[in-house]
Amino acid sequence: MKELVIISGKGGTGKTSITGAFASLAGNSVLADCDVDAADLHLLLKPRIIKKHDFYGGSRALIRNELCTDCGKCREVCRFDAIEIRGPVSPHSQKTYQVDPVACEGCGLCAYFCPAQAIQFDLALNGEWYISGTNYGPMVHAQLGMAEGNSGKLVSRIRSEAKKIAEEEKIGNLLIDGSPGIGCPVIASITGADQVLIITEPTLSGLHDLRRVAELTRHFHIPAMVGINKWDINEELTGEITRQTKELGLTMAGKIRYSRAVTEAQVKQVPIVEYTNDGISQDIRELWQVVMEELNKS
């Protein structure tokens, strides 16, 4: 089983549209959406949810005001400014201590040091993840709760479930839609993968972010290829990116032209290669060929 992760550094370069097109071209693969805090792949692949699971990424503190003695120890030990003081709620207390669930890091110090054992510290529900069926193979995806953290842990969970399915059902390819940036969820999506495809665009921002994300893949020793989306927006920069890709020791996998059909396909909620056979779909097919060859080599 080969695992390909599609990332970009910069957001909005076309990761999800390209992953969706690859899913369609591959025919049968396992799909995973690891961009858990802005997941969009399901809008193209229309998964039918088969199993839903709760995701508990960490614990969270909750002060039981009826036991609280207002000593303030929790506030003293918390380094995340997560303990707030409000007005009295009962006749026996001057103040009410409360945990701001958004600021709470889940370290548990307040609960550990509370002399009145007034703080509960239980697993917190951070989101849900799903195993689904699509026309292109099984899909694992998730929904992080509003203003929730622990996205890296959720990404790791999704990837391991997707791998398990690929092995059990003997499906050769695992296609992963990653998230922008170079931080926690991206690192969780790429560590140990067979190949990474970095989708960039010919803008100075795209190039800047490509260099940082390429440094990241090198840091974790993961072979990476580059695809340039909307290459004809700035041909000079496309040339420069091609040159720098070689210099960085990465494989130039292909170029995709700019086309408004990408947005039209998105509005119709179908992978672009099913929406049109025009040039852009040819570009994506060629890119897919090269990506498959590289993936099989790795």
């Binding site: 170079i182 940082r212 927006i233 909620q269």
Partner: protein, 285 residues
């Protein structure tokens, strides 16, 4: 007054908006680029960097001579960052959230804290704009402490514009926490709408006032407008899909400089947002 520019979906135009709003405003303004994983505002502003400093987080260091291997540090750590083994205690610096628990519970004072660099902050000036950004070291997992450090800057400005990272998770929450207003940038597509809803949910949870800007507004469908309408969300401005903007952006230019006809959109937008926020702040005071 602090105003953040955020988005949910990446690549909708946060940096373009933040940079151009700073460029056209007549207020004494600062721009803090809080996308510490992939900071881009400097590409457009080309600031003269006058100061640079390292940002560190605290991690434990165990003195083996004092340590009695009691295991209390491992018990309190929720992040598996400190692991007592039969003969020594291992520390995994990247997993540490700097809560200080291990140091507090150690009965033998064997744990102290040392600083570990996770990135750096650069600050300087770009014309009338005071500028700062954070650059997370490549390979670092946690960006929120870095974002917090950028936000600690105290610029000589009455208006602070924060360029937030994409998404709706911890880094964005850190970037928008405590701001007076957030401009959400989206595009009128199903992806844009889906991620806008998540960003709106996040801001409502955080109780932060916000409005929406629709970028590349003549593309896509009506979903974003209908959603805003149904949920009484104010659409602050619409920016058309103009190939000249895309080309100018690709070269790292400020739109209002290279295409001056767009100045009025950005000027009206920043004036509207500042006036709205000013009224809210006065009403609260």
């Amino acid at each position: 007054m602090k105003i953040a520019v955020a988005s949910g979906k990446g690549g909708t135009g946060k940096t373009t908006l933040a940079v151009n709003l700073a460029y056209v405003t007549s207020h004494a303004v600062a721009l803090l680029d809080c996308d510490v994983e992939e900071p881009n505002a400097h590409i457009f502003l080309k600031p003269e960097i006058r100061e640079q400093h390292s940002v560190g987080v605290l991690i434990p260091e165990v003195n083996p001579e004092k340590c009695t291997l009691c295991g209390k540090c491992g018990e309190i750590c929720q992040f598996n960052a400190i692991v007592p083994l039969p003969k020594k205690v291992l520390v995994y610096p990247e997993l540490c959230h700097s809560c200080g628990g291990c140091m507090l519970v150690c009965p033998d004072q064997a744990v102290t804290e040392i600083s570990r660099e996770i990135g750096k902050i650069e600050q300087g000036q770009a014309g009338h704009i005071w500028f700062a950004h954070g650059i997370l070291n490549v390979g670092e997992i946690m960006s929120p402490p870095m974002i917090k450090a950028v936000k600690h800057a105290v610029p000589p400005a009455e208006l602070i514009i924060i360029d937030a990272p994409p998404g709706t998770s911890c880094p964005v929450i850190e970037a928008v926490r405590g701001v007076d207003y957030t401009i959400l940038v989206t595009e009128p597509t199903p992806f844009g709408l889906h991620d806008l809803k998540l960003a709106v949910g996040m801001l409502r949870t955080l109780e932060i006032n916000f409005g929406v800007v629709i970028n590349r507004s003549d593309l896509g469908d009506q979903g974003v407008r209908e959603y805003c309408d149904e949920n009484s969300i104010r659409i602050l401005a619409e920016i058309p899909d103009d190939r000249r903007i895309a080309e100018s952006y690709s070269r790292g230019e400020i739109i209002c400089e290279s295409l001056p006809e767009y100045q009025s959109i950005f000027k009206t937008l920043i004036q509207t947002v500042v006036a709205k926020t000013d009224n809210k702040l006065k009403a609260r005071a």
